[in-house]
C-alpha cells in the first residue's frame, strides 16, 4: 500500500512521458454532437500534414509512449488515416481510436481486425436511435450500429463502446451493458464535461445528484466497465472507484490537437491550458518536459476551499476542466461535487464569469434543442 501511495505521488509530479496521450487528428467531423469537447466540424487548414504527423509519431516512439488515444473530430475522415495508423503501429506506438463509425464498412473492419496493437472505440450516447440521435444527430445511431456489426462480423472481439453519461441515458446503463455484451465488446462510460460545445449544453444534460449516486454504485458492482478514470469525483461517496483517482492533466495525461497545439488534457482546449505546439523547436518532447504550464501543474496543488472537507483525499477536488468552464475557481469544489458544494458555488457565478470557449470549428451555429426529448 505504501508503495502505491508513493507511486501516486510520483504521478502528481509528472512522468518522463505521458501514460495517456490523446491525439486529435482532425477537427473535421460528419457529425455535430451537442456536447463535442473540441467543437469539431470543419477541418482546420493548419492541420498537421502527413509528414508532420509522422514526425510526432517518431517522437512518441523515442519517448516510449506505447500507445495513443486517437480522436477528433472524426479521425477516419483524414485521407491519410490508415497510412498514419500503419506508421504508428510499425513504430511501437499502439493506437486506440474513437470513431462515430462513418468509415467502418466491412472492408475497413476486416483490415482493422487483422492489425495488432489497434483498438477501436465506437461512440454512442444512447441505447436506441431516439436517445442517441438527440445528442449526436439524425442517423448517427444507425451508423454506429452498422460499424459495430461490421467489427463483430470481422471477428474484432473486445472493441469498445463508448458512452458519455447524460441525464437521459443513466437509466440505460444495464441496457448499454447488455448491448456491449451482445457484441462481445467492452462498455466504456465517461463523464460529460462542460467543454467545447458541451459548455452550452452541460446545464441541460449533466446527470442529477441522484443519478450520480446511481452511476457510482453501478460502477462499484462492475469493475470490468471502463471509465477512463473519469468519475473520480464520485469516489467521495465511499470506496474509491478503480483507477488513479486523481486529475492527471499535464502529469500523466495531455492532448495534442489537430494543429499541433498541446493542451493539459482532452477537456481543456483553451489558451489558459495550452502548453505549446509540436511544431516549435524541441517538439512535443520539450513541451511535455519543460513547458511552464506543465511545470506549474506538477507543483503540489492547494485544496483551497475544499481543505475543510474530510473527503478531499478521495476526490482531490474533482475535474479541473469542469471547474474552469463553469467559472469556478480551480482550487474549489467540482461543479458536480457529490456534497453539493459545487452547486452552491455555481449559484454565485454570473454568466459573464464563465470563460470564453476555446478554438471552435463548428460548421455554423449548432442548434441545440434545449427541450427534453419526448419518450
Amino acid at each position: 500500500m505504501a508503495a502505491s501511495e508513493r507511486l501516486v505521488e510520483h504521478f502528481k509530479t509528472g512522468l518522463s512521458a505521458p501514460i495517456c496521450l490523446t491525439w486529435e487528428l482532425t477537427y473535421a467531423c460528419n457529425l455535430a454532437c451537442v456536447h463535442c469537447l473540441s467543437s469539431s466540424g470543419r477541418r482546420d487548414p493548419r492541420e498537421l500534414d502527413t509528414d508532420e504527423a509522422k514526425r510526432v509519431i517518431d517522437e512518441l516512439q523515442a519517448m516510449q509512449v506505447f500507445y495513443v488515444n486517437v480522436g477528433g473530430g472524426e479521425p477516419t475522415v483524414r485521407p491519410d488515416f490508415f497510412e498514419l495508423l500503419d506508421y504508428a503501429v510499425g513504430h511501437d506506438v499502439g493506437v486506440k481510436f474513437s470513431t462515430n463509425g462513418v468509415r467502418i464498412d466491412r472492408a475497413v473492419a476486416h483490415r482493422i481486425a487483422a492489425m495488432d496493437y489497434v483498438d477501436v472505440q465506437v461512440s454512442i450516447d444512447g441505447v436506441d436511435a431516439a436517445s442517441n440521435d438527440h445528442v449526436r444527430g439524425a442517423g448517427s445511431f444507425a451508423t454506429a450500429r452498422r460499424a459495430m456489426d461490421n467489427l463483430a462480423e470481422a471477428g474484432f472481439a473486445g472493441f469498445k463502446i463508448s458512452v458519455v453519461m447524460t441525464r437521459h441515458n443513466v437509466d440505460q446503463l444495464d441496457a448499454l451493458k447488455a448491448l456491449a455484451d451482445d457484441y462481445r465488446a467492452q462498455l466504456r462510460i465517461t463523464r460529460l464535461r462542460p467543454s467545447g460545445r458541451g459548455a452550452d449544453t452541460w446545464d441541460e444534460l449533466h446527470p442529477t445528484q441522484e443519478q450520480q449516486r446511481q452511476i457510482y454504485f453501478w460502477l462499484l458492482d462492475r469493475p470490468d466497465v471502463l471509465t477512463g478514470d473519469s468519475f473520480f469525483h464520485l469516489s467521495a461517496l465511499g470506496a474509491p472507484l478503480p483507477g488513479l483517482n486523481l486529475c492527471g492533466a499535464g502529469r500523466v495525461v495531455c492532448l495534442i490537437d489537430p494543429v499541433g497545439d498541446v493542451y493539459a488534457c482532452p477537456f481543456v482546449l483553451h489558451d489558459r491550458f495550452k502548453a505549446g505546439n509540436v511544431r516549435e523547436a524541441g517538439g512535443f518532447t520539450r513541451v511535455w518536459r519543460e513547458s511552464a504550464l506543465f511545470t506549474e501543474l506538477r507543483e503540489p496543488a492547494s485544496a483551497g476551499a475544499c481543505s475543510s472537507c474530510g473527503m478531499y483525499d478521495a476526490c482531490q477536488g474533482g475535474c479541473m476542466a469542469a471547474k474552469f468552464f463553469t467559472g469556478l475557481p480551480l482550487d474549489g469544489p467540482d461543479p458536480e461535487c457529490v456534497f453539493g458544494h459545487g452547486e452552491r458555488a455555481l449559484a454565485g457565478v454570473g454568466a459573464e464569469e464563465r470563460p470564453s470557449p476555446g478554438p471552435g470549428h463548428s460548421r455554423g451555429p449548432v442548434f441545440v434543442e434545449l427541450t427534453r426529448r419526448h419518450e
Partner: protein, 89 residues
C-alpha cells in the same frame, strides 16, 4: 507454471521498460497491459534476471540483503503472473 525463484527468468521480449523517476513503467505489447516497477532496485533486478541461472542468483549478484528476498520474490511472482517476466529454457 508458478514462479520458482530457483529457476532462470528474463524480461519478456514483448515487454518494454520505460525509465521513470520512481523506477520504470513496463508495457506488454501483446496484452497491452501497463505495469509499474516501483523502485529503481526492482528495475535492476528485472534487467539482471537474464544474466543469471536463477532469480535468486540475480538477487545475490545485486547484493540484495537475504532478509529482503521474500518481498522481491513476491514481486517477481506477480510480474511473472502478468507476463512481464517469463521463464527461460
Amino acid at each position: 507454471m508458478s514462479f520458482d525463484a530457483e529457476r532462470p527468468y528474463r524480461l519478456n521480449p514483448k515487454v518494454a521498460l520505460r525509465p521513470e523517476p520512481f523506477g520504470a513503467l513496463a508495457y506488454h505489447f501483446g496484452n497491452r497491459r501497463l505495469t509499474f516497477l516501483k523502485t529503481a532496485r526492482m528495475v535492476e533486478v528485472v534487467r539482471a534476471l537474464e544474466h543469471h541461472p536463477s532469480a535468486r542468483a540475480a538477487l545475490r549478484s545485486l547484493a540484495v540483503p537475504e532478509r529482503e528476498w521474500p518481498q522481491y520474490e513476491r514481486a517477481l511472482a506477480a510480474l511473472a503472473e502478468s507476463e512481464v517476466i517469463d521463464g527461460r529454457e
